[in-house]
Amino acid sequence: MKSSKLTEKNIKHLSKLAGLKLTKAELSKFPKQLSEILTYVESLNKLDTKKIEPTAQVTGLENITREDKSGKSLTADEVLSNAKKKDKNFFVTKAILEK
């Protein structure tokens, strides 16, 4: 496991990836707080898990699907009822650059 050092520099990059804007206070607090937590969780290094299958789900369920039948949708009014900005039946957001 890599030794994780979260610094003010890479915290900014991480916050972009996370879709967050950190306050000045957070930018200075977070590196230490997060590094402490990461150090704590790195205790898992003590275990040899090379041959262990990862568990992604605990239900043991498989093949849960639905039949291809269409049903009711929400009305456009319901869909837009909590939107900050809307225009006729569309949601509105500030212009986005190409994906």
Binding site: M1, K2, S4, L6, I11, L14, S15, L17, A18, G19, L20, K21, L22, E26, F30, Q33, L34, E36, I37, L38, Y40, V41, E42, S43, L44, N45, K46, L47, T49, I52, E53, P54, T55, A56, Q57, V58, T59, L61, I64, T65, R66, L74, E78, V79, S81, N82, A83, K84, F91, T93
Partner: protein, 468 residues
């Protein structure tokens, strides 16, 4: 009608025998709410007008002889349960004006059973918390001592039931968020098997860990509610097709010779001495009931919290990505510190270059933890452990250090990682502060848990105690 002594079972009887009406019930609870909520802050939203209306309707139906399992019974709902037309916030400013256009499956089921919604209870924002202090709408206080925390994240629900502001309340448990506040507030908190109750319409925290349950005064109430909320849901692909039994049917059956395991790893250093003695005393009570107690081992216990604090924030970071403020909500700038911290942590452990070292590793150790339980349940039928390593702590005591707060969860996260059910029940008082214990069992063993809990509860009568 003595609201203080009511349980769902008693209320149903009372309504049936016309000792009181649903309207009187609802009025009674709102009287208590008006008296106590301003100090305890257990509710974010109150639905007095609607509830009184619904109560009148319920009374009419009752008089017409309509039979519904919870007709006229008032309940509170944790504010991460979507309730159509009723503001739902997850205690975060991001959703401070959000009015859902659909009901959670559990809400729908309870409404169809006749439940009346008193209001939405306070919680740690986004269910990120173990104390009830991290709500964007003010902290909740422990009704037994207002300078102490009620536990979290189902803080409002536990407080409301304990202080008789609601007959029962729903909750969610991702790492202990039902069991721990239940134990801090002297109420019964059920975390069902993962997949027993539908998560559809409940604001997701960590998808592979969230369990949907409730807080009640008594074990029988808990069993009654589970009978209604449990079952496969076509809107939730992780719900189990295993049939829902009658959880009340065998609740009084003797528990003699049932084997109870006491995992030694849950009684090591870190556990406060007086909590430890309460649990040990409780075990003695169990032995009086005829159960066989033996020591067992869950060797990977010490790693559970680390696994939890990798997997949970990872799933949180993904589940909170939808709150971009475009279709609903006020946008990501409204996230408070704890949410941001967890999103950052989760984003990090999933990121390229770190995924194998953290997330994959955690998934592998999760397998080991689950295997510990599988092995132990071949030897014993159930386990009894403490819920919290400490008594209800002082408000502000752990807020400065996130890691310190996270350590409150050491005994509860294991059940979420393995997906097993757990029930937290009152085990006594220390300095007038409640202490709870939890009974854990294999997947879908809720009826065994209810049975054990019921006998202990009836023997000790702790549920009768209420805050001053």
């Amino acid at each position: 009608m003595n609201i203080d002594q009511l349980t769902i079972v008693k209320a149903k009887e009372g309504l049936k025998k016309k000792e009181f009406s649903s309207l009187e019930l609802v009025e009674g609870y709102f009287k208590n709410i008006k008296k106590k909520n301003s100090q305890l802050n257990a509710f974010i939203t109150l639905c007095e007008k609607e509830a009184l209306l619904e109560a009148k309707k319920a009374d009419k139906l009752i008089s017409e002889g309509v039979k519904k399992s919870l007709l006229g019974i008032p309940m509170a709902f944790k504010d991460n349960f979507l309730t159509r037309g009723i503001k739902t916030t997850a205690a975060s400013k991001v959703l401070q004006n959000y009015i859902p256009v659909y009901d959670a499956t559990v809400v729908d089921k309870l409404k169809k059973a006749g439940v009346i919604i008193l209001g939405k209870t306070n919680m740690d924002a986004w269910a990120h918390g173990s104390s009830g202090e991290a709500s964007d709408f003010g902290l909740t206080r422990n009704p037994y001592d207002r300078n102490k925390v009620p536990g979290g994240s189902s803080s409002g629900s536990a407080t409301a039931v304990a202080s008789r502001m609601a007959l029962a309340a729903t909750g969610t448990d991702t790492g202990g968020s039902i069991r721990q506040p239940a134990s801090f507030c002297n109420v019964v908190g059920l975390k069902p098997t993962y997949g027993r109750v539908s998560r559809y319409g409940i604001i997701a925290m960590a998808s592979s860990l969230d369990a949907i349950g409730h807080l009640t005064k008594t074990v029988a109430d808990s069993a009654l509610l589970l009978g209604i909320t449990a079952g496969q849901d076509k809107f939730d692909a992780t719900t189990s097709p295993s049939p829902v039994g009658d959880y009340l049917k065998n609740i009084k059956k003797s528990v003699k010779n049932i084997k109870i395991g006491v995992p030694k790893e849950y009684f090591r250093e870190g556990l406060e001495q007086n909590v430890k003695s309460k649990i040990k005393a409780a075990l003695k009570e169990f032995e009086k009931l005829g159960v066989k107690v033996e020591e067992v081992s869950l060797p990977h216990t010490e790693y559970a919290l680390a696994v939890y604090y990798i997997i949970q924030p990872a799933e949180v970071s993904s589940n909170l990505a939808r709150y971009d403020g475009i279709r609903y909500g006020l946008g990501r700038k409204m996230f408070a510190g704890e949410a941001k911290r967890r999103i950052m942590l989760g984003t990090f452990t999933l990121s390229s270059g770190y995924w194998e070292a953290y997330y994959l590793k955690a998934m592998q150790v999760r397998t080991l933890i689950k295997q510990d339980f599988d092995k132990v349940f071949k030897k014993v039928d159930a386990l009894i452990t403490p819920v919290s390593p400490t008594l209800p702590f002082k408000i502000g005591e752990k807020t400065a250090d996130p890691l310190k707060m996270y350590l409150s969860d050491i005994y509860t996260v294991t059940a979420n990682l393995a997906g097993i059910p757990g029930i937290s029940i009152p085990a006594g008082f220390v300095n007038n502060l409640p202490v709870g214990m939890q009974i854990l069992g294999p997947h879908f063993s809720e009826d065994l848990l209810f049975r054990l809990a019921y006998h202990y509860e009836q023997q000790t009568g702790l549920y009768k105690k209420k805050p001053v």
